[in-house]
Each structure stands twice: as C-alpha cells, then as structure tokens.
C-alpha cells in the first residue's frame, strides 16, 4: 500500500529530522559542549618536617580519670608509648599483644605500656572498658595531635615508641606491631638497660631487623594473597 508506506516514511523522517536538528543545536549552541572546569586547592596545610627526638618528650595528657599526667612520670625500665585510636583496626588488633608483653616482661624487665589514644575521650573509655584494657591510658584530642608532633610521629596509627630506663628513645615502629618485631626490639632495649649493648648499635640492629621482617612479611602476604589464604600476620 503506497499510502501506508508514505505515512511510515513520513513519520520516520520527521523523527529523524527532529533528532538530528536537536543534536546539531546541542552541539553548536549549548554551553555544555565546551566546559572549562578548573579546580584549585584553597589550602593545603603545609606540614612541618618532624624528627624523632632523642629523649622522651615532656608532654602531659589526661589519664582515664581526667587527671593531667606527664608521660615522663611513668617509672619503668622499658616504656612502650603506643599511639592508637578506636577507629583504627590495626591498633585494635595489636592491643592483645601489648597486654601479653606487659604480662610477660612487666616484672622481669620492668616493662610498662602507656596507650596514648588520639581520639574522642568517650569513645576511648567505652572501648577500653569493653575489652578490659588494663595498662595505663592517656587520652588527647587536639593535645593528642600535639603529642604526636612532639614524638616526631606522623599523624597515622598505630605507632609504638620504645624508651629505655634513661628515657632515651631507642626505636619507633610505625604501623601494626607484630610479636616477632616486639620481641626483637624489647630484647635490644633490655640489653641497653643492662649495659650489654651500645644505644647506637641497638638502633642499627633494630633498623636492620625491622626491614628484614617487613620484607619477609610483605613476601608472605603476596604469597598469601596469591594463594588466597588469609592474611600474613604470624604475630597474632
């Protein structure tokens, strides 16, 4: 039927024409066609370079009861200052290890742990109560960040600072602490305390060992990932 064909053709032509015209209009005149998007940072807070001090810095933060407590007031032959936060999974993961170390080496080597939580006070107290955290805690929000600065530790969690009986900083471990690392570092600090090892030698040995353990762990993790078997966390 020629009439019918004409209708169909006409309708199709009208639609095609309309769409083409619309597309052309869009392309030629729409502002959407040319977009000059410019973004620029308003501010990028310049962080100062930090370096780790030789000695335990003199900082004071509120303890669990809210009383200001100086970090130098802890009388210990080995002090581990552990920076953590409740929102940080690796921090939570290493807390059992810290408690275990304190139980094992507290009496024999004079080890004390101080957890410095850089977090909201309520959240820290609630979590500490829930897991029955038994070592001393200091809690800071803004002043917690200042404490990080004073230790020369970047704003990342967890971080563990190992201090000898003369309140000299022997080692800093950034990131989750593993049992093998902790054992090696604490043995060196104990040796320094016993005058069996020179401080600079201890620092060198620890640096080398941490590097070795980290690459081993990275390799295990890569193999573990490849074999799809869990996470490489032999210390836990």
């Amino acid at each position: 039927m020629p009439g019918m064909r004409m209708i169909v053709l006409g309708a199709l032509l009208a639609i095609t024409g309309g769409l083409t015209g619309y597309g052309l209009y869009n392309r030629l005149f729409s502002e959407k066609a040319v977009i000059n998007a410019v973004s620029s940072p308003i501010e990028s807070p310049e962080k100062q370079d930090r370096s780790i001090p030789d000695r335990l810095p003199d900082i004071t933060l509120a303890n669990r009861d809210g009383r200001p407590t100086a970090i130098r007031s802890f009388d210990a032959r080995i002090l581990v200052v552990n920076f953590w936060a409740t929102w940080c999974a690796p921090c939570r993961r290493e807390i059992p290890l810290l408690r275990q170390l304190r139980a094992e080496r507290g009496r024999s080597q004079g080890l004390e742990i101080v957890g410095v939580a850089v977090d909201f006070r309520d959240a820290v107290l609630a979590y500490a109560d829930r897991i029955g955290l038994d070592y001393p805690l200091l809690i800071g929000e803004e002043d917690g960040l200042e404490a990080l600065d004073a230790f020369g530790v970047p704003n990342a969690f967890p971080a563990s600072v190992f201090v000898d009986r003369e309140q000299r900083i022997v080692a800093v471990k950034l990131g989750e602490l593993h049992a093998d690392e902790a054992a090696f570092i604490l043995d060196r600090v104990h040796d320094v305390n016993e005058n069996k090892l020179d401080l600079s030698m201890a620092k060198q040995q620890i640096a080398r060992k941490l590097q070795e353990l980290a690459s081993l762990r990275a390799r295990q993790q890569a193999e573990g990932d490849a074999a799809r078997v869990g996470s490489a966390n032999p210390g836990h």
């Binding site: 209708i7 006409g10 769409l19 959407k32 998007a37 308003i42 929102w87 990131g175």
Partner: protein, 603 residues
C-alpha cells in the same frame, strides 16, 4: 632526617622496580616516617567539575593502600554558597572490594584508583565558584591507618543554561525517578522494552481509552469500503501520528523548558477539541437517526468524512492531536522521559523511550483497528448500531474533556447528557431489533434511571459520575492552603515554618490540572490526610498563568509543572526524594508521609 627527599627516593626506588612493595620499603627503625607514605602521597586527591552540575572527585591510591567507602564524605563550604542554592547529591561510588575486618565487619574498600561522581542541584547561571570539604580515610595493608583527612577545594562550576536537579538517592525512589534511571543506564533494548510495556499498561488507563472510540469512529466512518488491511493501515497511521507527536513534543518540551502539556490543556484548546468530538458524535448519529437541519448535517458529515475517510495524513494528524490531549494525565513514564531529556540532553534515548511508549500505547488501538476491519460487516443495520455506539463514546470523550471547564455542580448534568442519549438509542433499538429486543429495553431503562439519578445528584451537589448520590466530599472545606507566587514567597514561608518547627507541603496547582482537582476533591478531604497534615504549613502555588514568577518557581524545582507536591521537613530542608507526582489516594498519601518520616509511623 628529612621526610620528603626520602619519600621521593622511596618512590623512585619503587618506580625502577628494586622495591617490590611500595608500602613496606622500610628504611630505618628510628625514622618511621619513611616506612610509609605521607597521607597525601598514599592518597592523591583531585577534583574537577565535569559539567555545570557535576563534580568528579578522584583519588590515586598507592599500591598496598586503600580507602574506606563508608568514610568518604563531601559537603559544601557554605561560605561559598551564600544563597544556599547549590545542593550536593549523593556520592556516586563504584563497587569496591570487600574487606573482612575483625573489628568493623565487612568493609567496602578501594585500591589503586577511585573516581566518584558528585551530582549537584543548582539554578541556571554563569560560571561560579564552589568550595567543598571532602573527607576520606584509609589505611595501608601493612597495618597503618591515617586519620580522616579533610581537603578543602575550590571548584569552578561552568555556566548552566538551565537549573539542575539531583538524581535520586539510593533507597526511596519515586516511580518516575526509577524510570529515569532506566533511560539513563539500562541497555537500549531493555529501555525500549520497559517503555513499550509501560505504554501497553497505559493503554488501559483512562488516559488512552478515549483514543479507542476516536480510532474506532474513524474506522467505522470508512463504511462499506473498509477492508481489514485498510483498517489496520489506518490504525497504523493513527498510532504513528501519535508516536511521532510524543517523540517530538517530548523533545521540544524538554528543550524549551516550558510546559507544553499545560499549553495544550488550555481551556480554549480543550474546549475546541471537545466541540470536535461533539461534532463527530453528531455526525455519527445525524447520518442515520438524528434529523439535523439539512444544511448543517450535510456540512458536518462532509467535514467528518473528510477527516475520517479520506487520507491517511488526516488520520495521522488526528492521532497526533489526540496524543496531545491524552497526555493530559501527566503519566509518570512521560515525566520520566522528559526529566531525562531535560537533564542529560540525551534526546536519542529520551525520544526513543517516548516513541516506544507511544507504540505500546498504540498496540491495543492497532488490534482494535485490525479486528474492527475484520469484524465489521460489509454492510447492514448492524453497522448503524455500531456507529451510534461510537457516537455515544465520542460524546463521553467530549464530556470527559470539557467537564473540567465547568463548575463542579454542572459536572453531573454534563455526564447525564451522553447517558440520556444512549438511553434514547437503546429505546429505539429495542423496537427495531426482533431478537434480544428485551436486552436493549433493559439497558434503556437502566440508562434512563442512571441519567435521572445523575440529575438528582447534581441538584444535591454531588460531582462524581460514578457515585452520583455521594455528596459528603463536597461538604468538607478545602485544606487551608496559603498561596505563594514567587520563589521569595516560598523561601520566606519555609523559613517561617522552620523557625516554628513545622513541616511544609507545597502543592503545585493549575486550573487545567485534572489530578490536582482530584487530589483536592478526594485525597485532601480524607480525614486521615487532614489529621496527618494537622500542624503543617500548607502552601499552594497556582501556576495556571504560567507567567514569569511561575516559570521561575518551576525552574527552582526543576519540574515541568503540576501535578507535583513537594515536602519540607521541620528543619526547612526539602525531602526531594519524596516528591509526589500525579494523583495519590488518601491511604497512599499518608503512607508516603510516613515513609518520608513526616508523619508518625502509627496512626
């Protein structure tokens, strides 16, 4: 020890491949900051506007580092948005990798790279700056977590030729938003199929049913010369005319940004069409039964025959015009297509969706056309009866179109007219038909009674032709709406309500809007609805005039017109995802308020 040079060295080593794992390139036990990347190197953040209403946030994530999906956030620095006229939508995030966390459960995380779209709603206007605060938080696989990092960035938004609205958030999606989603994202075949199906469903609503008598009338008008093929071809011409109108009108509406539906709902145009249908109906009757003055009758029937029997072009034109009338019920699929064409400028997809929908709506018409040609006998008295029947249907369409132009108390009188005519036809039929004459007789009695009841009902103030004696509705006073005209009026009223802690409902109204009138008559009179809305600030914007302030108001909301109802919480913020479009029954309306958190969950 200096951090940056060593970090750079670490990166360089990683780059030349001597260090297998970037995250664990340990350098010294006493210099921890070199073991891990500083946060800005672990997560390199950037943002840019990809359009007047879209920002893309991107992160280059170092190997062995990841970002948590749940801790990504972007907010506007309101100092860069003094008018509060820019709103952010939800971050559009890709699917991340699941990470089991013994403390925080299953977490979705992103490795390597992340690109997140950030849609925004804004009014039309020139290039403007916008400051954002973007927060993110991530960790290294090796067991180090960075605290939430917040970056303040200044974005330059390109000029927008039209107002942009937000896409729906996950969770609640109104029907038209879900459909808009289908157009935007689904495959072409799926999209066309969905809209064809919707068209089919729409064909059985009161929106499209009026087309059946129109088409049948045209085909019946063909008389003895009608073959089945010709009937089908005529139907096809009609449906294609309708589909072409939808497609082109849809694109035009979206591009022009005004309410074409409203224009074609103009009382004069509606009135004219109603008269056409009356004329056609009279022609149907006049040729055989009703004796009109000869001159008028001849002219009418000649005109009618020119329209219906002659050319395919005429039929197609008829289809095209009917489409405009029928889109009166602002059907959700139509709005969805319009929203998408307007928002994305994707004329092909939007137009294609409308075309498929129109074909779906036309399918039953094709069936009627084809079957009509088959069923209708070549000649005989049977044909006369069918024609009269179509004449009545056309009168019903005319009344359906014209009723809204008359005051409520005249509605039933109008409806009574075609019913009374139908009754008269059946009286006549009962005497003409030998067999089964009693059926026609009974039908005539029933219809006469119905028409009589409607007249009585009209006298008593009833308005619903299906419930001619129900008059309770008309005694309930209208909701105490406060009229607003401009965007300023609106903002003042919302601010006043917010300071009093009241939620706000804004009803867009126009005289031509059938659904609005239905809402007023049936939904807003329901005691449940009135109870739920007690203590609200009720605003109504009458956009019948469609003048400057009206258009500005519609643009402010990014909508094409009524029937639309917007809700504001007691906080003064609009619940955009809970806008209502079209007629909603009382029970559904209350349920909707509950879903929006604006009504107590137990009645």
């Amino acid at each position: 020890m200096r951090r940056l040079p060593l970090a750079a060295l670490t990166l360089a080593l990683a780059a030349i491949g001597t260090v297998a794992q970037g995250s664990s390139s340990l350098i010294g036990g006493n210099g921890p900051e070199q073991e891990f990347l500083p946060v800005d190197e672990a997560f390199r953040f950037d943002a840019s506007a990809t359009g007047p209403d879209k920002i893309v946030l991107s992160w280059q994530i170092a190997d062995g580092y990841y970002l948590y999906r749940s801790r990504l956030k972007a907010i506007i620095d309101e100092s860069s948005n003094p008018e509060r006229d820019v709103q952010l939508g939800q971050l559009q995030l890709p699917r991340g990798k699941d990470k089991e966390d013994e403390f925080f459960g299953r977490q979705e995380v992103y490795y390597h790279a992340l690109e997140a779209g950030l849609p925004l709603a804004r009014p039309a206007g020139g290039v403007r700056p916008l400051a954002l605060a973007v927060t993110y938080q991530g960790c290294a696989d090796a067991g180090l977590c960075y605290p939430p990092e917040t970056k303040r960035i200044l974005i330059t938004l390109p000029a927008a030729s039209g107002a942009a609205t937000l896409p729906p958030v996950d969770g609640f999606r109104s029907q038209q938003d879900r459909l808009a989603d289908v157009i935007r994202r689904a495959g072409v075949a799926k999209m066309l199929a969905v809209f064809f199906g919707l068209g089919l469903l729409l064909a059985f609503t009161p929106c499209v049913l009026p087309m059946v008598p129109i088409l049948s009338g045209i085909i019946a008008g063909q008389g003895t010369r009608l073959t089945r093929r010709r009937a089908f071809a005529l139907s096809m011409a009609y449906v294609l005319g309708m589909a072409a109108t939808y497609t082109l009108a849809g694109i035009t509406v979206a591009k022009a940004g005004f309410n074409l539906t409203a224009t074609f709902q103009n009382p004069w145009i509606v009135g004219a069409f109603a008269l056409v249908f009356v004329a056609l109906a009279l022609a149907m009757f006049g040729v055989y039964t009703i004796q009109m003055p000869a001159g008028i009758q001849t002219r009418l029937s000649r005109w009618s025959n020119n329209q219906t029997s002659g050319t395919y072009t005429g039929v197609a034109a008829m289809g095209a015009l009917s489409a405009l009338i029928v889109s009166a019920c602002v059907a959700p699929p139509l709005i969805a297509a319009l929203i998408v064409i307007g928002q994305t400028g994707d004329a092909l997809r939007g137009g294609g969706a409308l075309f498929a929908m129109a074909l779906g709506m036309g399918t039953p018409l094709l069936v009627v056309g084809a079957a009509g040609g088959h069923w209708l006998p070549k000649a005989g008295p049977w044909m006369d009866t069918v024609k009269r029947f179509f004449g009545v249907l056309m009168l019903l369409v005319a009344v359906w179109l014209a009723a809204r132009l008359f005051p409520a108390r005249w509605q039933l009188v109008l409806w009574a007219i075609p019913i009374a005519i139908a009754a008269a036809l059946f009286w006549q039929l009962s005497s003409a038909v030998r067999r089964a004459g009693w059926i026609a007789h009974a039908a005539a009695i029933v219809l006469t009674g119905y028409a009589g009841v409607m007249i009585v009902g009209a006298a008593r103030g009833a308005t619903d032709p299906l419930r001619p004696l129900a008059t309770t509705a008309s005694h309930t006073p209208a909701l105490p709406f406060q009229r607003i005209k401009t965007v300023d009026d609106l903002e003042r009223a919302v601010a006043t309500a917010a300071s009093a802690g009241k939620p706000v409902m804004l009803d867009f109204y126009a005289d031509w809007c059938v659904s609005c009138i239905e809402m007023e008559r049936y939904t807003f009179t329901d005691p449940r609805v009135r109870q739920a809305l007690a203590g609200w600030t009720l605003l109504q914007a009458d956009v019948t005039a469609h003048d400057g302030p009206d258009q500005a108001l519609l643009k402010h909301f990014g909508i094409f017109g009524p029937p639309t109802i917007a809700f504001y919480g007691p906080d003064g913020h609009e619940r955009r995802d809970y806008r209502l479009v079209g007629f909603v029954k009382a029970a559904d309306f209350v349920t909707h308020l509950r879903a929006a958190g604006l009504a107590p969950s137990n009645p």
